[in-house]
Symmetry: C2
């Protein structure tokens, strides 16, 4: 290398032939991103008029696009043209104001901008040192949101002057991951407590949730190795509006103890996916405490509403649970992925999830003064996850976020009132948030079976129009339509139009039936 100064080409990977492919060429970055922004603007303008649910057949896209990757590069306009021509027509438009299925994936200009910047910076924040600002931004965003939710300070990171407690949080991709990592922490703690040799005690551990709990909880239990025979799905009914009955939970847990099992984990849901039932958090925590079981609160959807004082009571008792998760990517204007998990004792998580390979060792980690977020999640790599959530809270402020929740709830209430005022319909369970569960009620000679058929027909006809998209559920054995308000482009007129369409279609079906 001594020859470097006199003979530069000796230290050259390419000589003069370097063709210089620059994937982040400044002109390309600006031009591709501006084209993407134009696309997005057009898309938001036109999405209202697109069929919410597309009319495409399985395999359609392969017939439209090349089935093999191209060898040569193409102008970005070609890529964008194919996106417009072939991809958009096959989308189910979650961004459509006529989308009423599942839960809306709410979004905002600030969140998209934050996610864009995170994509461009492309940091990998596994340790504090690998991305100090990204780590601290995530911690800060979680503490801010915890304050909006009035979570007890025991869940906060409180890094800084006050020193660190044991509480803390992490942003994950999905609620399922939040369940999985807390299940594993609870599992390992229970194994240690029961003096298990390795995992020999695993077949004796038991976990609990209401039968209305998201199916992903039962899947997460299986992933973590719990015995399917010990995963309890506790029946609920109309007497509790499909919420978990603490007395019933106590009975089931006690029976397990009597049978030699070890109650390990209880999952309570605030706002079930099916019908928005709310399990009583405090009462469940009290029952679980008898058995020293971990209590997790899944508030994926309805947690966002709890930033409003009038909904906060749904979290009462949260100070006695071990962990809580909620997903701003559902109802807090933050695009996917963004699930926030808080735990009261991060050591219980990191005991199970910590890794310490040589190439990640660094002074900051060894000082114990920093959070290495890799030790609170399944994976190692992670995006700059806190940025978009912080940008949402920083830009809009809590007052606007509350307004957003209240606006959705008010529109849902408006829809509910309309349903109640038409005696062909019934609201099947009380509305708690912005989801209305309703159906054409059995009337005249209509049996329950007929009602299921008529309601299914109503849903299918509505969805075929392309002017609305609703999903269904089963509540108490009944086929029920779910009308979920809140898609971010939605206005009152869209809810109104959907209701008009529902009434008109119902009239048509009723007339045909007669």
């Amino acid at each position: 290398m001594g020859s470097l100064d006199t003979n530069p080409t000796a230290f050259s990977a390419f000589g003069d032939d370097a063709s210089g492919f620059q994937p982040l060429n400044p002109d390309d970055v600006r031009s591709y991103l501006h084209k993407a922004v134009d696309f997005i603007s057009d898309y938001y303008k036109s999405v209202e008029s697109l069929p919410v649910l597309p009319d495409v057949k399985p395999g359609y896209l392969r017939n439209e696009l090349r089935s093999a990757p191209p060898i040569s590069s193409a102008p970005f306009d070609v890529t964008m043209k194919e996106l417009r021509a072939s991809v958009v027509p096959g989308m189910t438009h979650w961004a459509s104001p006529n989308f009423f299925a599942f839960f809306p994936s709410t979004n905002s200009a600030a969140a998209i901008a934050g996610d864009l910047i995170a994509s461009a910076m492309n940091t990998v924040g596994f340790t504090w040192q690998a991305a100090p600002a990204a780590t601290e931004m995530e911690v800060l965003a979680l503490d801010w949101l915890a304050q909006l939710l009035r979570l007890p300070s025991s869940f906060m990171n409180r890094t800084g002057a006050a020193g660190r407690g044991t509480g803390g949080g992490v942003i994950l991709g999905t609620t399922s991951e939040a369940m999985l990592v807390t299940l594993v922490a609870a599992r390992d703690a229970a194994l240690r407590r029961s003096g298990s040799q390795g995992v020999s005690g695993l077949p004796r551990l038991a976990v609990y949730a209401a039968d209305q709990t998201h199916s992903t909880f039962f899947k997460a239990c299986r992933l973590a190795g719990f015995d399917p025979a010990n995963i309890r799905s506790i029946p609920t009914g109309p007497e509790t509006d499909y919420a978990l009955d603490p007395a019933r939970l106590l009975e089931v847990m006690q029976a397990d103890v009597d049978a030699g099992l070890v109650p390990t984990y209880v999952c309570a849901t605030v706002g079930t996916t099916s019908s928005n039932a709310v399990d009583p958090v405090g009462a469940i925590a009290d029952v679980a405490a008898v058995f020293n079981a971990w209590v997790h609160v899944d508030a994926a959807y309805a947690g966002s509403a709890c930033i409003c004082p009038e909904f906060r009571h749904h979290l009462d008792g949260v100070e006695r649970v071990d962990s809580i998760s909620m997903s701003p990517h559902k109802w807090l204007l933050t695009c996917l992925d963004c699930t926030c998990l808080w735990v009261r004792d991060t050591h219980r998580l990191t005991d199970s999830l910590e890794t310490n390979p040589e190439y990640l060792k660094n002074d900051a980690s060894e000082s114990g003064n920093v959070t290495d977020l890799k030790d609170m999640q399944v994976g190692v790599g992670r995006r700059f996850r806190g940025l978009k959530l912080w940008m949402v809270m920083r830009t809009y402020g809590s007052a606007k976020l509350q307004e957003h929740i209240r606006s959705d709830v008010a529109m849902a209430k408006m829809f509910e009132d309309a349903v109640r005022a038409d005696d062909r319909f019934e609201v099947v369970v009380p509305r708690n948030f912005a989801l209305v569960c309703f159906r054409i009620r059995p009337q005249g000679a209509m049996t329950e079976e007929d009602a299921e058929e008529v309601n299914r027909e109503l849903m299918e006809r509505l969805n075929r129009t392309g002017k609305a998209y609703l999903a269904h559920t089963a509540v108490g054995g009944k086929f029920v339509l779910r009308f979920a308000v809140g898609s971010s482009l939605q206005e009152e007129r869209h809810v109104r139009s959907a209701w008009e369409l529902i009434k008109k279609t119902t009239t048509e079906i009723m007339e045909e039936e007669m």
Copy 2:
């Protein structure tokens, strides 16, 4: 509702007071995103001159930003100002051309644009019906990439005219998740085969990997409930360049069988994180086949190189493994998150991961003609993950992608040659891809302990300059510097400058030592 036409206000959630907070207001969307694009352009222009590793103390960000969320909204410029003033100075700049630590998180204009559009569309593609184009795009992108990697067609989805085989893939967030879901599938299959009642047989299952395997593998095993005592980390040494020795694997697996255990899963790595060792895929598959164990190939980093014919031999034998994963977010110009997993028999995954709640039931899923990607991952929700990967391949084409790999490898070779030409240094293991593992070699009176101290000092001084960031590893008990080439803004001159800095700093240290 009969009054609707004559008295519109009766059907109104807000009356006239609607303040109309519009989180996706068209002007805001355009303006915020343009500001973000400007920020990104400026950032890429200036990042070269910023210290790669920031000089901030734990807790610094909380001292700069508000510790409580604001109530009122703020102009987006305020948010962007705080980003520039407080966040950027605390970043470890993975996008810097002077970043040589870990593996680079490569990126491209097409990938960022694709991710931006995915954020704006904000679809949730758990089932085919919930996002047909997003599902099919993901399947297509995986099949394209499988073709670039010349994976056997048994790993492809082949939806369309040829009908579906059992193969298929999914895009996940991390390699860890790819390991976890395949571990669970292998675990459940082994339990069924061994006639286990529930998970009673779990303490008898054993899993295998070289000691150079990423620590996240051993963590994933624990997450899936494998007994820590049966998670085998098989020693490697310089005689195989730290790759797994199949003969040794055979011995260990046979000994376990003799002891009554059930070999369940072997993880082979193509390009270890520590030193880029390559486990012999085919030979490992042959050994595992003796015991009917699942074989997974983790090619997170080096898999990208295998799109070039000259590197493809590292995957030889892949037609005999059960699954393979690689991460375009590492070395294929696709920003985080993007880990591709292919399996030869998707049913083995979905048997363990399928859920079927009422509200997700639909005709397409029930037809069996479509892929519901939720059944191949931990969670339910998922972004439009295939778009950015497809955009990268569509826009750049395979020739440019190969050029990108070759350019990085050539720069790494250039650096390696320089190290070899300076007799104060040694290359510790043969370079396979774009990572060079080197150190100041023990010389004169320098003991191995002195060498560790001197090399650690070198790394710390380099990193403190802000002009380069390197990480270290331990190979064969030696403290080794890792020089990973390939950050997407990197050019030959950056590698050259880093080498000059290394030489100069080494001279300074050596002179002080004397």
